[in-house]
Amino acid sequence: MRSLSHRARFLALGITAIMTSALVGACSSSSSPGSSSSSSPILIGASLSLTGGFSTDGQAFQKGYNLWVKDQNAAGGLLGRKVKLVVINDASSPTQAVTNYQTLINVDHVNLLFGPFSSLLTGPSVQVAHRYGFAFVEGAGGAPSVFATHLTNLFDVSLPVAASLLPLINYLTSLPASQRPTTAAFPTSNDPFTQPQIQFAQQKLAAAGIKSVYSKVFPAEPTQYKGIADQVAASKAQVVVLGSVDVPTITAFTQAFVQQRYNPKVFIATAGPDQGTAYVNAVGGVGNTEGVMVPNAWYGGSPNAASKTMVAEYIAKYGGTASGVNADVAEAYSVGQVIAQAVKATNGVENSKIITYLHSGVVLNSVQGAVKFDSVGQNLQATAFVFQWQKGSLVQVLPTGSGATAVQYPKAAWGK
């Protein structure tokens, strides 16, 4: 009995200690995260897919973030403080991305966060940032499922993906009946980035009388693409709208189409053809890129002045041409630009103030163009473009009008 009370006393002491430390922790966390005001570098944390299925995009994102950090520091940093980027590899795993953001916040004590690559990883990651009161500015989480969380700390600087194929749909439905395609195929990866785009396009084209002759979802993990692509070829669809997330998928479909001697009038992929040199080399050279389209909000030849500067810096550092610059670089760079403007406007790195500022309806600048957020973090100012590979360059073809190159329709034969 005596030993029990002794134990109880220790227990009470332990509980008191835990509660006291929890109280202290709660008090210290009641102020907004990232609000340190020393002259030490501003730490910005990001989880990126440096290995795994998204590694090409993840590494392009890292280049974009690094370019921005270099430029920002060359311009005196943020509020006179140097900027330091802390990147942790998530190996393309949503679970690892969540762990990484917890580490960045609790172990590295970063002041600000940048987003990861892809909607698949942004969805769970933004939840972590929200829990700790961090603003989550990102460039590759534009799927409707991400915005459906209605988290107030989410800000996507890029184009919301749902309606990204609208310029192509408008173009096809505006063609004279004699030229308008009559059939379309919609193979898509089982991914939150691709499926909304494909469903949207399928509904709109069906409403315009373009019949769907193939519509199947294939697993997101690497699979036997050849058989699926052969089925698409067998459908003889005049338009192929491929829901792809990476270069290997578009490469497999391209190879199978060439092998089956199948050349649709329109071949557009949601991602892959925007990966510049990586895409061109993987599909076997520029001959197999001719006429292939991709929707996006940015391309290497963008007339945006800041974009031109960024592209020149990129080429000076990594080589290549403007068409070879991955669009991920611009998306990442834009994240940095938006954060920089928010930090400057709020005169600090207090995340609660940054969130309020970004929701204020202010219009910001980026290499992708103007940025203005709605209540769920979508960029209302982003314009959907469709780009097409023509003679080895990725050019803007839609919407038609000033600055746009004429659409190559129907697309040229493979290898031309």
């Binding site: 440096l50 290995t51 795994g52 299925g53 590694s55 090409t56 993840g58 590494q59 089982n190 199947k216 979802v217 294939f218 697993p219 993990e221 690497p222 699979t223 036997q224 050849k226 058989g227 699926i228 052969d230 089925q231 067998a234 990476d246 270069v247 290997p248 490469t251 497999a252 190879q255 060439v258 092998q259 089956q260 001697r261 990586a278 080399n281 993987a282 599909v283 076997g284 050279g285």
Partner: protein
């Protein structure tokens, strides 16, 4: 009906390519009782070797096999000597999983450092050219893969069952101590067998690299498929690997016609059913060793 026929053709040709990649895995297990988790990354390494020869020395990938096969053989001998030979005792097979995984991680790291993460493919005229037969467009690269698979698997079979070396290998498999007593250098046999298993992978890697965009990460996607093929075929069975690979890819291609998201799942369901009925796989190890 045309779709079904196309799926069968794709399955047989694609299955042969997987058999080519899995042949080394099943040979190494059959002879050495080693589960080589590094097989996937070795396929990718072989693909990168073919890629490098093609891009930097403009060597045709098929001719490049005269370089990559010996290089992979020597690498296999080295891996056996440096890592596998050290494993002793009853836990040897289980430990081989960990050791070969470590080898895979090392090779993956070297590939990332050397080639980066950007996916690449090996280019040659026969990568996209096709033969038009009975209404089917048969890609030359798959026909080449099919031919290489048949030749490689037949060569392994003949080596094991029609040569003096094969007799010493099988004697070692049956009883290492007895093999030593009659003068067989068991360590040498193990090194050569591991080397041959890895050398066969050179051909599989070349075909894989011409039919897929790959990067150092691709090994992870491959190993689960290759393991399931050799398990279904029967660990250690050369013919079983060919049959299982063709079955796996054909099943996937047929299911792809209706619902691609179920294709892989259907294969694994069949795998589980087969293992319940025949725990040693279609052509179990004991049966193979009794040949």
């Amino acid at each position: 009906m045309a779709s079904f026929a196309q799926a069968i053709v794709d399955g047989i040709l694609g299955g042969a390519v997987y058999a080519l990649m899995a042949a080394g895995l099943t040979l190494i297990f059959g002879v050495l009782d080693i589960i080589n988790i590094a097989q996937g990354i070795l396929v990718v390494l072989a693909a990168y070797l073919s890629y490098a020869l093609s891009v930097h020395l403009h060597l045709d990938p098929l001719l490049g096999l005269f370089v990559t096969v010996p290089v992979m053989f020597l690498l296999g001998v080295f891996i056996e000597w440096a890592f596998i030979r050290r494993l002793r005792g009853r836990e040897r097979t289980a430990m081989s999983l960990l050791v070969s995984y470590a080898v895979a991680v090392i090779i993956e790291g070297v590939l990332y450092q050397t080639f980066g993460s950007t996916p690449v493919t090996i280019q040659a005229w026969y990568a996209t050219s096709t033969l038009h037969v009975f209404g089917f467009f048969l890609p030359y690269i798959y026909l080449i893969g099919f031919g290489l698979a048949v030749v490689a698997l037949a060569a392994i079979y003949l080596m094991l069952y029609r040569t003096t070396f094969g007799r010493t290998v099988r004697a070692t498999v049956q009883d290492k101590v007895a093999a030593r007593l009659i003068g067989i250098n068991v360590d040498r046999i193990a090194a050569l067998t591991f080397g041959i298993g890895v050398a066969v992978t050179a051909a599989g890697g070349m075909v894989f690299g011409m039919t897929n965009a790959f990067n150092p990460d691709s090994g992870y996607d491959l190993i689960s498929r290759l393991l399931s093929i050799v398990i279904l075929g029967g660990l250690g069975s050369i013919g079983g690997a060919l049959a299982a690979a063709m079955f796996m890819v054909t099943a996937e291609e047929v299911v792809n016609i209706w619902q691609p998201t179920w294709a892989t799942a259907v294969y694994y369901v069949v795998l589980v059913i087969v293992l319940v009925v025949r725990p040693a796989g279609l052509f179990g190890k004991q049966a193979t060793r009794a040949q």
